[in-house]
Symmetry: C2
Subunit: 138 residues, 2 copies
């Protein structure tokens, strides 16, 4: 049997871990979309500033995102989002917004809400998200 009780029991944790691997992608395409919207183009240095990490880290993550088909870029050139990347960015941003607005609606301070939303957004299922949305529009 592949579906034993033991496997079922570990499912929530597996889910948690799998989410981790997409968090970075979501954070990055979301940031890129914002930066492009604000300034026209997105460069490694913009992401370096945005995330507060070294340009090396940014470069490597961008390369991975290109492998995954979310962005397109060439050496020493700005980074562009693919259609797929833009779609992911939009979904991520919407989710982020809802979580943030939800925390505000709960009475959390804007600064704290901003920090918590960053961490929480990646772990909110569609169902929970819709509950958040309904609460904001109470």
């Amino acid at each position: 049997m592949t579906t034993s009780k033991k496997l079922d029991r570990s499912d929530p944790h597996r889910r948690t871990r799998r989410d981790h691997s997409t968090e970075t992608a979501e954070d990055y395409v979301e940031a890129m979309a914002e930066i492009i919207e604000r300034s026209g183009t997105c460069r490694v240095v913009d992401l370096t500033k945005h995330f507060g990490v070294s340009h090396v880290t940014v470069t490597r993550i961008v390369a991975r995102l290109q492998d995954e088909g979310l962005v397109v870029t060439e050496k020493y050139r700005p980074i562009e989002l693919t259609t797929q990347g833009r779609r992911l960015a939009q979904r991520s941003r919407q989710r982020h917004e809802i979580v943030y607005e939800f925390l505000l609606a709960l009475g959390v301070d804007p600064k704290v809400a901003a920090i918590d939303a960053e961490g929480i957004e990646h772990h909110v299922s569609p169902q929970t998200l819709s509950k958040f949305k309904a609460f904001v529009q109470r």
Copy 2:
């Protein structure tokens, strides 16, 4: 100036990442406390089953937790929590419970709430947590 706008801007992300490094510790001591409560002792194999990972992964994480003073163990012996470990476990469990109950109170299905709570609990600030608690006791 060490507190430039750029640094402030990246603060939320830094916070998110720092949280990551303690998530595992919290998950593990929380699981250990439950297992010890339920069965008397906690062994590597119990954590292996609980998290659905290999015993090697568990062993290495337990070694790290021992370095951090959260657990005590010897070769081929059960794992015990230190006072510090027990304190962390209790705090983690309380927070986990509050998040879970909060999601239930919002109307999220128990199964979905269990999954989301796993992911969310590590990213909830004390302030947000108190809002959650207040909402449950509405």
